[in-house]
Amino acid sequence: MDNQLRIFSIQFFKELGANVQDNGDSLEITEVPQKFQKFYGKNEPYRLVFDKVLNGPGTELITPESYLLKMMRAYLDNSGDAVLLSLNYKLNVDSFIKENLELKNCALVKATTVASHNFLFKFTFQTTYKYLNEEEKLVNEVYVDDGSIIYPDLTNFVISDLNKKDIEITELRDYYSLAKEHIKDSVNKKTSSIADALEIDLSKEISRMASYYQQQVKEIDEQINKLNNNQSSRSKDPLELEKQKLQFASERDLFVQNEQKKHALRLNTKLITTTIIDYPVYSIEAFFKSGVVTRLVIIKFDPLKNKIELPLCDLCKNPLTEIILCNGSHLVCRNCGVRCEDCNEISCENCLKNKCAVTKRKICKQCGRVCVKCKQFKNKRFMDADSIRRSFICKNCY
């Protein structure tokens, strides 16, 4: 913690433009802008120490509870509350394809990427709980993307400032409302636990008061009884005593109310920073070749959500984790791929609809042709090519 505080202090004063000299045990801060000196209420130089043992006259001890840290935080209150960031992701297309798709009967010929830009909204809230003489603070971040709360992992991204003003943020207020509702739910657990502890304390106080006023009334009742039975030598008016009882009741109510107010839990949630984060969504165009067939496949990748839109089987429309190109240039899955009974190459149901009229076997478009004369589909082996008319004629018709 000490180290974090030290790093923070150095960064803070450097950001202010002050001179920070690291003396090992302490930091000597000079050339502090007047604005901060006035804000803090103390003139420079500041000698910051991070260990209680080193604290003495002329030093400022920085701890999580220290006043200077509080003032540094407060000084930042009105800055950095709107930030525009960019998430940069390094995509190696070849490796990406290899990692996500198994190339069964083809090879990658070429792959290019096109990135489109989306915006992620981050709302940073601080919730402050105040009760009795305690104060607790919670910092919560809520990410909203495309109208939903998400929990992204940003560790694979390089974050940088984005200098772009023409961003589309029409949903900002809606997303803020969504984040606000989410925060309410998140703080409920903490609120309940503090309220439970306070309730125990309040109950003690109220029970003390209740027993006090109960006893008071009891004592008055005893006096009234004595008066009624002529046992008391004091000449008190029973009506006056009854009036006193009523006064005690209203006094009790007042004190109970005061005690309730004392034990009230105040929690305030404040939006500290809104960060608009630009992030890429990739469209990868990959060309695969199998034999003489080449096919363009488009894969979509959202690195923020780690979401990959894989290509679909041309036939059953299921996503593919392996690339199988049929010799009719269709993209097929294992279930939809069928082998030609003649050449044994992968084909698909669309391309393997016809049977050879001679052998009655299902053969692919590469192995069979339609005779121009008898119009029957036959294996090429039973045909002769008419090189002039670029057509086939079966041996029966020849």
């Binding site: 923070f8 220290s66 003489n133 305690e134 607790e136 008061m209 006090y212 005061n258 004392k262 305030n268």
Partner: protein
């Protein structure tokens, strides 16, 4: 009973959203710093006083028991307690630490301090100088809304208007105070007083009662005080009587250990011996000035003029106390200030011709004087002090700038290193003068206004060249030396002219009030208890006015004046005795051991 939960979203949220909509983006580094700060800053527990760093340089002494006490009251008692430290331990500082911490942490915004009239200004000054807190004084009913941090004289605001059937300052009851502080709270010992009812009616979340003597004669006083602080803490009066009151002895608890255990829950009390602070004695040295026959004649003539021949131009007798008071101290301070005042009379046509002639005659007589016995006595005292210890530092006081200049002139031939200290100096000039006195000079010659609120604990000799008739002013003078850090017993020299009223006044104020072994802070309490700390009818301190009355009523008869002073002395002694009784009673009941008597 359910807890009140007040849940809110900050109104500032929209300003943040607007910045985004207006594309006013800041740097990512600043935003990161901001989030880092929020994450690093933890105020989950009250482990220390976060405001202490901010004010520690303003405190002359860093006393651990004061910070510990403030933390204890905040953490263990939720800011509501009877702070019953013995006198001299700095209850004001401890309270200031609590207030500052609560303000810095944002626990409180509206604070009221109720004090005896004579301490209002002192509270304002201490909170300003030591805690950078700007408290406003409640002067009238319309002042309550003017500030969140206010101080009021309890005697002034507690007044109940019987005709209207309400408190004159009932506005105070409408405000929900985050913190209420009542100084010298032992005055709240009776439940049937307007003072008690005024305080009881306040809406307060945190409540501090300050007194070194929570009770005096009767343990019921303690009950009443705690009843105010925490209803039912000691049960009903009947229960309290049965459990804690010994029949036939109102001051000794029946069940002392149980009472102390209960008190510890709501009371913080430390004794001086626990704190290791070594208090030094004030040793009174009244130096009698024997006037020459000529001087005595002049003195008598002045008294005669003021009491019997003081007339306005139209022949009306001028006996207004204020007029006499304005002249009397000056003419008794020094020959120079006497001549100055008498010249004004002699030269003004507002006065009757005979009065003016008499004044001129006295001025002429001064001109013929060959000696000034008072200044000679002063030189003799200084010589004696420096011979005894050449390194002595002497704080020499006079009320009047004219006398100050006169003394400076008279001391010039003696090659003494003297620092002159008067009102109107800037803070830097004051610091420079104090440093000169501390490091190079032998004497600091000062007026009250010059040295107000300053610390001279490195000096242990004080000379009152003239003496204010207000004991609190004298107490303030001595208070400059009598502070934590004083390492020697203090020598309090006071010049008293023999066979004059001054002799009696010095005896009363020095020997019977300011140098009788009281610790700093006790005299104001005694005067407050006697009802003598608030201003009198003429707006001056009540004791001062009582002395003035005696002077006027004595018609230049010293014996009559001495009798008047004697009566005041008896009254003061009564107050001291009662205060002593209270100290003993409080100490026996609260600490289980006898207190040191005066």
């Amino acid at each position: 009973m359910a807890i009140i939960i007040d849940e809110s979203f900050s109104d500032d949220d929209f300003s943040v959203l607007e910045k985004v909509e207006q594309r006013k983006f800041g740097s990512v580094d600043t935003a990161k710093l901001k989030i880092d700060a929020l994450t690093l800053e933890k105020n989950t527990e009250l482990n220390g006083l976060i405001s202490y760093d901010l004010i520690k340089d303003n405190l002359t002494h860093k006393l651990k028991y004061q910070t510990d006490g403030a933390l204890h009251i905040l953490r263990e008692m939720n800011g509501s307690a009877l702070l019953a430290d013995e006198v001299g331990l700095g209850k004001t500082i401890t309270t200031g630490l609590i207030i500052k911490e609560c303000l810095v942490r944002g626990f409180v915004s509206k604070i009221l301090i109720l004090t005896p009239p004579s301490l209002v200004d002192q509270w304002v000054a201490e909170l300003d100088e030591k805690f950078n807190l700007n408290f406003k004084i409640i002067e009238s009913e319309s002042d309550w809304d003017k500030s969140d941090l206010v101080i009021a004289s309890i005697d002034k605001v507690k007044i109940f208007d019987n005709n209207l059937g309400k408190f004159r300052h009932e506005k105070a009851h409408e405000i929900p105070w985050d913190m209420l502080v009542v100084d010298e709270a032992h005055k709240l010992k009776q439940r049937n007083t307007t003072r008690w009812r005024f305080v009881d009616r306040m809406q307060k979340k945190r409540f501090l009662l300050l007194t070194a003597t929570p009770f005096q004669n009767d343990l019921l006083e303690l009950y009443n005080l705690l009843h105010l602080l925490r209803r039912g803490h000691l049960g009903t009066i009947q229960e309290f009587r049965q459990k804690f009151l010994l029949k036939g002895n109102k001051r000794k608890p029946l069940n002392p250990l149980e009472l102390r255990r209960r008190l510890q829950e709501v009371m913080l009390r430390r004794k001086r011996e626990e704190t290791g602070i070594n208090y030094k004695k004030r040793i009174p040295r009244v130096e009698v000035v024997n006037l020459t026959q000529e001087e005595k004649r002049i003195y008598d003539s002045i008294c005669d003029l003021l009491k019997t021949k003081y007339f306005s131009a139209n022949g009306d007798e001028l006996r207004g106390k204020l007029i006499i008071y304005a002249i009397l101290p000056k003419v008794t301070s020094s020959s120079r200030s006497a001549i100055e005042s008498l010249s004004k009379i002699a030269e003004s046509d507002k006065y009757h011709i005979e009065t003016r002639q008499r004044a001129q005659e006295i001025i002429d007589a001064y001109g013929n004087l060959k000696t000034d016995s008072k200044i000679e006595k002063l030189i003799e005292i200084i010589d004696k002090i420096l011979k005894n210890d050449k390194d002595s530092k002497i704080l020499l006081y006079t009320k009047h700038p004219t006398t100050l200049k006169y003394i400076m002139e008279k001391l010039e031939p003696y090659n003494l290193k003297i620092v002159e200290f008067m009102g109107g100096l800037t803070r830097e000039e004051k610091t420079e003068k104090i440093a000169q006195f501390k490091n190079n000079a032998q004497i600091m010659l000062s007026t009250e206004t010059g040295a107000e609120g300053l610390n001279f604990q490195f000096c242990n000799v004080l000379i009152n060249y003239d003496l204010p008739w207000n004991p609190m002013s004298v107490e303030q003078r001595i208070g400059r030396l009598d502070r934590i850090g004083q390492t020697k017993d203090m020598q309090i020299y006071s010049l008293a002219t023999k066979d004059t009223m001054e002799e009696h006044v010095v005896d009363l104020i020095i020997n019977k009030m300011c140098c009788i072994g009281l610790v700093i802070g006790e005299l104001p309490t005694i005067l407050f208890n006697l009802g003598l700390d608030s201003p009198g009818k003429m707006g001056l301190a009540k004791i001062e006015e009582m002395l003035m009355d005696s002077f006027i009523d004595s018609k230049n008869n010293l014996d009559l004046f001495a009798k008047g002073v004697g009566d005041i002395s008896k009254l003061i002694q009564k107050g001291i005795n009662e205060y002593n009784d209270a100290k003993i009673a409080s100490s026996e009941a609260l600490d289980g051991q006898p207190a040191q008597n005066i």
